[in-house]
Symmetry: C2
Subunit: 388 residues, 2 copies
């Protein structure tokens, strides 16, 4: 069982204070590094991104902006308006530009959608990404639907449809794959669910981690994006921070019925993309870039699956099966998640996500992101040492 | 009188189409350059910024991020949350961090404030920045208060107070200096106005152009920021795009009663600053940077005033007096603003703002930004040639 010495306990207290100040999210790695300078952070396994994609993006950015001195144009002048960027994405997403809403990160879209389209009652599966209930305005009912530990936190489609039909919410949310457990709902099940829940006014499917999921050995990803054409109640939300590893750029989009986009754009969201976000979106529809990206996406999935395999051999922990780029582990040797996370950070410079504040998880849970090959090896090795 | 030949008319029609698509704003210089490749744009005198400040920012950015390879950190990882950045600004603004709200550009703050705090009726002086009425939700009364041409569009304080007392709006907006005429309300008048309008629930003062205004020959600027301590109904909104010339970064802040900030942060606005915006805000409180900035601020003001002097000698136009970084001119020789703007853009590569869509301006008006010394000389010369 993991325990902390006096010195480690003192640092752990500082980490806890920072965490409390950041609410139900983790303090950024910069905040941690700035406020606790005695920590040496080597691996940010709290941040859920594909580091190979960041590298690829950076190669392009360096060539297109830094070396060519176009960076100044991108930072100095106004970027394009929301509808102009939507038009850029339209062909690549194969949906009408009027159905695309561009966001300053997916988080802005979650806020816009929940604030504008959720009227009376929302069902949120737990465990989940906390903004889906925290952004709900006062006076709106939030019904938590607990995913069952005995079912490895998988969404039971039939049971879910029954609950929704009984509770009659105007909004439901499915994160696919789910955060923090990585549970994936297959494309055929998503279609079945949509066909059976046409009476729900707003069905949010958050596909921020969909690039890491796959249905067969081709690793092809299956997005619900185009289903918006058949289901006007569907809103697909997509962060670009995870798959492309560019959280600092703040870029996301949503696909939804064009009337909803028009409603949102009528009173705001004018210049909510930065010059760099616009640069990214223009790259995102670029053939050569996409081909190269597809290679690093698959490479990262393969390494992530190997990482999971290694994690699952460690006897003191249980890994929950998932198809995202992070593993949800439960500590089985009596250690607390706080001690485990502190030990990994203080002793090994590895920053992971303590899930103690995640409602819907009973037990000692930690979420660990897959990073690059060397970092993953370091994570595995460090965890083993922690338990020695 | 300016008139266009056949070829110019065709390009002018394309410009008009882009403008129509951009609503009551101007299409970005990139959109114009992309959609009308036959145009050669040399000067963006539509964009209201201090180019010397952009240069200064760029020198720092190059040293701190590009050369040191920290750029990747800034783009890869999550930036700090709203309250963390507010804390950074607190000392420099001399207000409580809990009274500071960080925005993805001032435009996001205008949206947040109007959507959350305007309940029944808003008074908007015209001419104005259109978002102040366009972002108002359906069902809320908008009362336009026309500034008088005979008074050079100056705000008449006594008359304004009377109108507000009679109309009893819950929200009023003063842009200081005003856009598009540059009209400046002195600090003593702002204080007088606040003291006399304590019954108004929300008094918005938009100081996005305040760095270009001054009260005496020391060029010192007088912001209303600290008055929030005395007047809880006051909200000061500040864009950083103009004074620092970094519209592509998207950075703004507002100072308001801490209860309002808490209300906004309760349901959103979590990671609305990009990594580069956070980098900028950290620079904004940096002593050496600020000292250097102050020099280029004053240099730019002095050149802008010289530019205005030159503009006012051109007999075919009338310059309205203002203390912003742009001149509002009226065409007096019978030319239309559309022909003037098209001629300047097509024939001289100078992009200016046609004010034909600005409500509250009767006549043929164009807004021209002051740029650097050489560009200003080019603008003056080109205008003279247009009238030949």
């Amino acid at each position: 069982m993991i325990s902390l010495n006096q010195k480690e306990q003192e640092i752990a207290a500082k980490i806890k204070k920072l965490k409390d100040e950041a609410g139900t999210h983790s303090p950024s790695i910069f905040t941690v590094a700035e406020k606790i300078p005695e920590l040496k952070i080597h691996v940010d396994a709290c941040f859920l991104s594909n580091p190979y994609a960041t590298e690829l993006f950076f190669t392009y950015l360096k060539r297109d902006l830094v070396d060519s001195r176009k960076m100044r144009d991108v930072l100095e002048f106004y970027p394009s308006q929301n509808n102009v960027i939507a038009e850029i994405l339209s062909e690549c997403l194969n949906v009408n530009p009027k159905s695309i809403f561009i966001g300053n990160g997916a988080i802005e879209i979650i806020q816009a959608v929940i604030h504008n389209f959720t009227k009376n009652k929302i069902i949120v599966n737990i465990p989940t990404f906390s903004s889906y209930y925290e952004f709900v305005k006062d006076g709106i009912e939030i019904l938590f639907n607990p995913l069952e530990k005995g079912e490895n936190y998988r969404l039971n489609i039939e049971k879910y449809i029954q609950i929704v039909k009984k509770e009659k919410p105007d909004t439901i949310v499915i994160i696919n794959p789910n955060n923090p457990d990585g549970g994936y709902v297959k494309y055929s099940d998503i279609k079945y669910l949509l066909a059976n829940l046409t009476e729900v006014e707003t069905v949010i499917i958050d596909e921020s981690f969909i690039h890491f999921a796959y249905e067969d050995e081709t690793y092809e990803m299956k997005s619900a994006t185009e289903l918006v054409k058949d289901y006007p109640n569907l809103i697909v939300i997509k962060s670009m921070s995870k798959d492309f590893g560019i959280a600092g750029v703040r870029a996301g989009y949503a696909v939804m019925d064009s009337k909803r986009v028009a409603y949102l754009l009528k009173n705001g969201f004018l210049w909510n993309s930065s010059g760099l976000a616009e640069y990214f979106f223009r790259l995102y529809v670029h053939d050569t870039f996409l081909k190269e990206y597809e290679k690093v996406r698959i490479k990262y999935i393969q390494e992530t699956q190997l990482f999971f395999k290694e994690l699952s051999t460690i006897p003191q922990i249980q890994l929950y099966p998932g198809l995202a780029n992070f593993g949800l582990i439960e500590l089985k040797d009596g250690s607390t998640s706080t001690d485990f996370v502190s030990k990994l950070l203080i002793g090994h410079g590895i920053y992971t996500r303590n899930c103690a504040d995640k409602i819907g998880l009973e037990g000692q849970f930690v979420r660990i992101a897959s990073r690059n090959k060397d970092e993953n090896a370091l994570i595995i090795n460090s965890i083993k040492i922690c338990f020695e």
